[in-house]
């Protein structure tokens, strides 16, 4: 059996390692925003809508990720626009984009000639097959996110916390909302290859739930989420490699396990403290 150190001499493993690292950075940061703002299901809508772009990408012979990115950003804006201007209730608006995207994806994949070979990797992720180009894109996105959240930290925090009040202090609330929904869309699309459309919500919520046990400060929550996302992804990756199970599912399973253990630890600690 290979030791972990040996694994790093394989290119595919090194790529997978960096993919989990960038996934942890991007999902840790963006997920904290999503969870704090309670827009987990907006993100679910964007994720599934992006499947439409993957289908059209296949059909036209483009990169499926490009199609997915366009669909994800448009659906993110669409959900916001519907809710704000169209007076559609937010959850209904999400459902419309969610199912529309899936429907378009299924139709175009059906129309595409031949069998779509790595369709499963979009649905369930496959961190071991992430390409170098995708890795560069993930790295660039992570860098952009770190810079954006560091430079505009307070602006983002204030708008996320109390949008209406933020308007009264003259903050560019709409601009920030649309920028952030675009960054959410890009984060989702570039991480689809890591854990897949079906599973990506967990990478955006589970590390945050774990981090939330330790802190109730937005900034610290981002940092701790990145940490737990990385622990979960890397441990999940190793687990999938040694036990030979799909990596996406393995990562999610590890994230849930970490959360459950931490939750239990906090529960026991509280019991002990309250006893004296």
């Amino acid at each position: 059996m290979n030791t972990v150190i040996d694994l790093f001499s394989y290119d595919f493993f090194l790529n997978a390692f960096w993919a989990s690292f960038f996934a942890a950075v991007s999902c840790g940061i963006v997920g904290t925003y999503i969870v704090s703002r309670r827009i987990v299901f907006v993100s679910g809508g964007i994720t599934h809508a992006s499947f439409g772009g993957i289908g059209i990408g296949y059909f036209l012979g483009w990169s499926p990720l490009l199609g997915a990115a366009i669909f994800a950003i448009l659906s993110g804006w669409g959900i916001q626009l519907f809710t704000q201007k169209g007076k559609v209730r937010e959850d209904s608006s999400i459902a419309i984009w969610w199912s529309l995207g899936m429907a378009i994806g299924i139709i175009f994949i059906y129309l595409s000639p031949g069998y779509a070979p790595n369709l499963m990797s979009y649905l369930f992720g496959s961190v071991l097959t992430v390409s170098t180009t995708e890795l560069y894109l993930m790295g660039a996105l992570s860098l952009v996110l770190v810079l954006f959240f560091a430079l505009f930290y307070r602006l983002i925090l204030y708008v996320a916390f109390d949008e209406e009040f933020a308007k009264t202090t003259g903050l560019p609330v709409n601009l920030i909302n649309y920028l952030l929904i675009s960054l959410i869309a890009l984060t989702i699309v570039l991480n689809i290859r890591v854990v897949g459309i079906i599973l990506i919500l967990s990478l955006l919520t589970l590390p945050q739930a774990t981090a939330n046990l330790f802190t109730k400060d937005f900034k610290k929550m981002m940092v701790i989420s990145v940490l737990f996302a990385f622990i979960g992804s890397f441990a999940g990756l190793l687990f999938s490699f040694y036990v030979d199970i799909p990596s996406g599912a393995s990562i999610i399973f590890t994230l849930v396990l970490v959360f459950a253990l931490m939750k239990l630890a906090f529960y026991i600690r509280q019991k002990l403290l309250s006893r004296g």
């Binding site: 009040f165 009264t168 202090t169 109730k216 400060d217």
Partner: protein, 256 residues
């Protein structure tokens, strides 16, 4: 006082295609302490939101004679997400208009120092670094009051600050407002006519229209004549002025 902070003229506002305010008129003067009362759905909050530029009026005008950032605002407490991961200091600092954003890592920023000063003055120094989810209703209101004071306002607008707080904090809050009123005009929306009339100087009844009442003594009959069907209820340990006293007030009614 002939100087005015804000002039509202013939203001009409709709919400979901329904007219909530119709040709409303109201002037706010320096050091006013104006209580806004009226039935639920009568347009109290809409009036405030129009003042703050949060809803667009159909017609009419709102003229400010002070810079917009000199208007402090305390929204209804149920408007915010109480489980949001944010600390008391950050909430208070978010009240600053034109605050610096590039100060994630700096601690000695002027905004932060002023936020700390406000928190100290409110007597809640110990909760500075707590998350808002860990506070009691009274503490949370104090935090939001601090936030509304960040710009050193000349007009402070409060939307039902007395909900979800206990009686003791309620009287403390009103005493605090009385003190602040020496420096700034206060516009206070409340459902509790009895309590506020002890503290406010003047009253405006909002029910589609705005009826200004230049005194803090108002009777049920007068309320009825303003088309403002409210019951004057009293509770708690707050001293009350005589309500329902009938005097001749030269209340001018606008556009009945």
């Amino acid at each position: 006082m002939n100087e005015k902070l804000v002039e509202i003229k013939n203001l009409s506002v709709s919400y979901d295609q329904q007219r909530v305010l119709e040709q409303a008129n109201l002037d706010i003067h320096p050091l006013d302490f104006l209580g806004i009362i009226g039935p639920n759905g009568g347009g109290k909050t809409t009036l405030i939101k129009a003042l703050l530029g949060l809803v667009k009026p159909d017609a009419g005008s709102i003229k400010f004679h002070i810079p917009l950032k000199k208007v402090g605002y305390l929204p209804q407490i149920n408007q915010v997400d109480k489980r949001f991961p944010i600390t008391v200091l950050d909430v208070v600092q978010s009240g600053k208009t034109g605050g610096k954003f590039l100060n994630v890592f700096r601690k000695d920023h002027a905004d932060r120092l002023y936020a700390e000063q406000l928190i100290d003055e409110m007597g809640i120094t110990g909760i500075r670094h707590k998350a808002i989810g860990e506070l009691s209703g009274g503490q949370m209101q104090r935090v939001f009051l601090c936030r509304s004071l960040m710009n050193q306002p000349e007009l402070l607008i409060l939307d039902e600050p007395d909900t979800f707080v206990d009686n003791q904090f309620e009287s403390e809050l009103y005493e605090k407002l009385k003190e602040l009123n020496k420096r700034m005009a206060i516009l206070l929306v409340s459902h509790d006519v009895g309590t506020i009339s002890y503290y406010v100087k003047t009253i405006a009844c909002v029910n589609r229209q705005v009826h200004y009442h230049p005194s803090n003594v108002i009777s049920t009959e007068q309320l009825a004549s303003y088309n403002c069907p409210l019951q004057i209820i009293t509770h708690g340990h707050i001293p009350h002025t005589v309500l329902g006293m009938h005097e001749n007030h030269d209340h001018h009614e606008h556009r009945h």
